[in-house]
């Protein structure tokens, strides 16, 4: 059915409060730890204290004898099948079997009548370990003779990625200017407020159910089936309200999930397991710390001719999604600037630390920090304005990058100009008092990715007789606002209000299968599926209404909960009346579906070539800082950002997402790091793992973000991603602002006060020449 293209919308584009805001504001939203079931037991996990050890013997006799303990399990209680995120690197087990590889790895689990008893029981599990030599630093781990974290994995190389596009050596030879720098990033945790929590049930029919705060329930579904040796039909994953995720453990099946269901099998009762926050901060799941060598060649006008990047990531004890992480970092080097010739090599190295994976922005964030920090120095060396150098290199709509990204809408130049304008850049740069500076940073991100395996999304709509639209997808709202955005899309197409749409949470028994919430895919992929489902529902309803009204279905307009003939508005029927008439009089129910898979293209992950995403988002920002020369403390006094997220479907949601991403990046830049000494996490607490507080952000008048609005034809109503790209330029902007304020260059994250003070001191001692702190 054709419908006229409208330039004004009733629902999409309006700032809309989050659909589940009311229960959340009233304390009625049900997170996993809020749930309770009759007869439920409480579980706890025993974690190993060694960075690397063989498990010689586990004796659970004393634990089992403690009154109130109902079951104790170890790795031997599972089939011994490894599961994982990528088919080639399945190295996870529900509980360790023979070897433990990092401090905190799970070795046993207990179910008891209450948590106090379960905790006591952990003390009574006797584990005999034979400590093995351990290795913590990736450079050490790659040396011949280093202890092997996994047998048979030579030199502890977890993943190796290399690709090359264009003629890199030639470009370096003919370049007017070449610069090389080294950057180091730190381990960073998701830091969500809700610790992982689940309830597992193994029922009498042999079916396993898991209620948990999962961002990708179907990933968990498959992993549970694999690790338990069950068929998919016997596994059910129900998504509870998610209290923040940012990837990590909420993206996959964790030992707690396996243990909850296995303990349930042993006891015949539901079993709840909840992590304490220090457990959350001790276990794996964090951003890869990286060492990035970046060598860039330009002509004398600052146009980038080539880049050579070598990266070593400290992957920790297990693979997680690391193979993909390495590809992604190199792929993201190709945007938002034109890099005609690129060589990229990355090594992910196993060490006896907590393992690393995805975390908001994935490996893109680290790369953007390195790249835009360096760009600043290139501009200084060549005497080029830092804004001009970015414009000069900016990708344009229609470009195809060296690795095959096809750039659609990409208002990068506008984002840069908008930030220059918002921040007062021209008035401030070079004119601020001593120890006050302003810096620029850019980044970009994808709108979902074409991955190997399942990438597509689907949506189902049923319209009830009261006009309520029931919308199901397999995508999860984790706080980012997917429930509202997807409902708004359906509401717009069907001409109803967003409150008329009921968004159902994911349950693998009844919602369509879906990759989940990650990679900024939901608005784009699932949004498109929802739009298609809604359009099909509209088509079905139009046929019914046309019959009822005696009109041509192509003439019918859906608006204000009504269906009206655009040529004769006396011919009208309410949407719910049409639904009722269709159902009651003709036996037709309105049930529709839609799918979206971003086309048939495949990425060649070996060569790194292929158009990873259907759309790309540029972002730019400026940060103003005040540095205290006596303490090295940085105060962020202003932030101005602009992103091209296409058409913002929910501007209120977009604002929350981009500011949230920005503040997260403030933390990564200045305060946050997981401090590990010989594999032991020293600061597994929010007291010492310091995330930004309300007093760490600029005053509201100086904290601005603008949407540069474009219309991405491939996106639903022109929308693209929002909420990950926004954070990617922030860290470099801060590094550049600190440099502008003090002349001290920090290449190592976090840019903590002690490092800044040290750099300032070094600078004074070397009398005037800018100092660079390259490594700890």
């Amino acid at each position: 059915m054709n419908s006229p293209v409208r330039n004004t919308f009733d629902v999409v584009g309006q700032p809309t409060p989050k659909k589940d805001g009311i229960p959340k504001a009233c304390g009625q939203a049900e997170y996993a730890d809020d749930l309770s079931m009759p007869g439920m037991l409480h579980g706890k996990l025993l974690r190993c204290p060694h960075a690397h050890a063989r498990i010689v013997r586990i004796d659970t006799t004393r634990a089992k004898a403690l009154p109130g303990v109902r079951a104790v399990i170890t790795g031997a209680d599972f089939p011994g099948v490894r599961y994982g995120n990528l088919p080639q690197t399945r190295d996870y087990l529900p509980l360790a079997l023979d070897v433990v590889r990092y401090i905190g790895e799970e070795v046993a689990a207990v179910a008891a009548v209450d948590e106090d008893t379960a905790e006591e029981a952990l003390d009574l599990i006797d584990v005999e370990y034979e400590p093995l030599p351990a290795v913590f630093d990736p450079d050490e781990a790659m040396k011949p003779g280093a202890p092997l974290v996994h047998d048979k994995v030579a030199n502890n190389i977890s993943a190796k990625t290399a690709f090359e596009f264009g003629k890199v050596d030639e470009a370096f030879t003919r370049a007017d200017y070449v610069r090389e720098d080294v950057y180091e990033t730190q381990p960073v945790k998701q830091g969500m407020l809700e610790p992982h929590a689940c309830i597992g049930l193994w029922d009498a029919t042999g079916k396993v159910s898991l209620w948990s705060c999962k961002m990708s329930p179907y990933v968990v579904w498959r992993q549970l089936a694999m690790g338990l040796g069950l068929e998919l039909r016997n596994v059910r994953v129900v998504q509870t309200v998610v209290g923040g995720g940012f990837s990590g453990g909420k993206q996959e099946a964790m030992p707690m999930d396996f243990c909850a269901v296995m303990l349930s099998k042993k006891t015949g009762r539901p079993v709840k397991i909840v992590h304490t926050m220090d457990e959350v901060l001790t276990i794996g799941h964090m951003r890869h710390p990286m060492k990035i060598w970046l060598r860039t060649a330009t002509d004398k006008s600052g146009r980038i001719l080539a880049q050579h990047c070598k990266m070593v990531a400290n992957g920790g004890a297990y693979s997680s999604i690391g193979g993909f992480s390495m590809y992604l970092a190199g792929a993201m080097l190709n945007i938002p600037y034109r890099i005609p010739n690129l060589r990229y090599e990355a090594y992910r190295v196993y060490t006896n630390n907590g393992f690393c994976g995805a975390l908001r922005g994935h490996t893109n964030t680290q790369i953007c920090f390195a790249r835009d920090s360096q760009l600043e120095l290139i501009a200084v060396d060549l005497g080029i304005d830092p804004i001009d150098i970015r414009h000069r290199n900016a990708l344009q709509p229609g470009d195809v990058t060296a690795n095959g990204f096809r750039i659609g809408t990409f208002a990068f130049d506008e984002c840069i100009d908008r930030v220059v304008q918002l921040s007062g850049w021209r008035e401030k740069r070079g004119r601020l008092p001593k120890y006050r500076g302003i810096g620029f940073g850019c980044g970009s991100h994808i709108s979902g990715a074409r991955l190997m395996g399942h990438s597509a999304s689907a949506a189902e709509i049923r319209i009830q007789e009261d006009g309520t639209v029931h919308l199901t997808t397999g995508s999860t709202d984790v706080g980012q606002g997917a429930d509202t955005v997807l409902s708004m899309i359906a509401a717009e197409v069907l001409g109803v209000s967003v409150d008329d749409v009921r968004y159902i949470r994911v349950d693998s028994d009844s919602t369509p299968v879906d990759p989940g919430t990650f990679g900024s895919r939901v608005t784009f992929f699932t949004g498109n599926a929802v739009k298609r489902a809604a359009e099909d529902a509209r088509r079905q309803l139009a046929m019914i209404a046309a019959e009822r009204l005696g009109a041509n279905p192509d003439d019918l307009v859906f608006r204000n909960r009504e269906i009206v003939n655009r040529h004769d508005d006396r011919q009208r029927i309410s949407l719910k009346e049409a639904v009722r008439w269709g159902a009651f009089q003709t036996g037709r129910l309105i049930i529709s579906h839609g799918t979206y898979a971003a086309g048939d293209e495949k990425i060649d992950f070996r060569t790194g070539h292929g158009n990873l995403s259907p759309a790309y988002n540029p972002s730019a920002c400026a940060v103003e800082v005040e540095v205290d020369p006596d303490t090295g403390q940085v105060k962020i006094v202003g932030f101005w950002g602009a992103d091209d997220s296409g058409f913002p479907i929910n501007p209120m949601g977009v604002k929350g997402q981009v500011i949230g991403a920005t503040v997260m990046s403030f933390g990564h830049a200045l305060f946050e790091t997981l401090i590990r000494i010989d594999g032991k996490v020293m600061n597994p607490s929010f007291r010492d793992y310091k995330m930004p507080l309300m007093t760490d952000i600029p005053r509201l008048a100086n904290f601005r973000h603008d949407n540069v609005i474009t219309f991405e034809p491939e996106g639903p109503f022109g929308a693209k991603e929002a909420g990950q790209g926004a954070g990617t330029g922030v860290i470099a902007a801060l590094a550049n602002a600190i440099y502008d304020a003090t002349g001290a260059r920090l290449n190592c994250l976090p840019m903590s006060p002690d490092r800044i003070l040290f750099a300032l001191r070094q600078k004074e001692e070397s009398a005037g020449a800018p100092s660079e702190v390259a490594a700890e």
Partner: protein, 162 residues
């Protein structure tokens, strides 16, 4: 059983007569014995504020407060702010101003805001920030939370006829 202590807790205006072990925190008793799960188990060390409740009108971290010490106090949780199905102004402002994403920190912020506005009905932006330092949010970046608190203060002022 001998360790159980009889206490009477007044929570959201309701009286609860309970037998509790002295080592139970107020947070645990609220969530596990009274069934009020609005206050959350998050950091459990007084850093995040997700467990905040009002004790005699002041915001405290219930994870660090023994239930037996809450005897004779007036306790109010986020669930007690709504009246007969109608959200209070602070709750409304949080919803309408986009201050809620994952929502896990929301009950704590709403409770703290209640305490703040009772003591200081027209706080400046700085006063708002300093009043909220005991509350972490990882999703919103705080801007819309500040705006919600300012909105609530403004709306309440209007309702008072001020």
């Amino acid at each position: 059983m001998k360790h159980l202590m009889p206490i009477t807790l007044r929570v959201n205006g309701e009286i609860h007569e309970l037998l509790v072990p002295p080592w139970r925190t107020l947070l645990e008793v609220l969530r596990e014995m009274i069934g009020l799960t609005g206050a959350k188990r998050s950091c459990q060390e007084g850093q995040c504020g997700a467990c905040s409740v009002l004790v005699d009108g002041r915001s405290v971290n219930s994870c660090l407060y023994l239930a037996v010490e809450a005897q004779d106090k007036d306790i109010r949780t986020v669930e007690g702010l709504m009246q007969e199905g109608v959200l209070d102004q602070i709750q409304k402002s949080f919803v309408q101003k986009g201050a809620i994403q994952c929502g896990f920190c929301t009950p704590g912020f709403v409770v703290a805001t209640t305490s703040l506005l009772n003591e200081n009905p027209e706080p400046s932006e700085d006063e708002i920030r300093h009043a909220m330092v005991g509350h972490l949010c990882r999703c919103t970046g705080y801007v819309q939370i500040v705006e919600a608190i300012q909105d609530a203060a403004g709306q309440l002022k209007q309702q008072r006829g001020g």
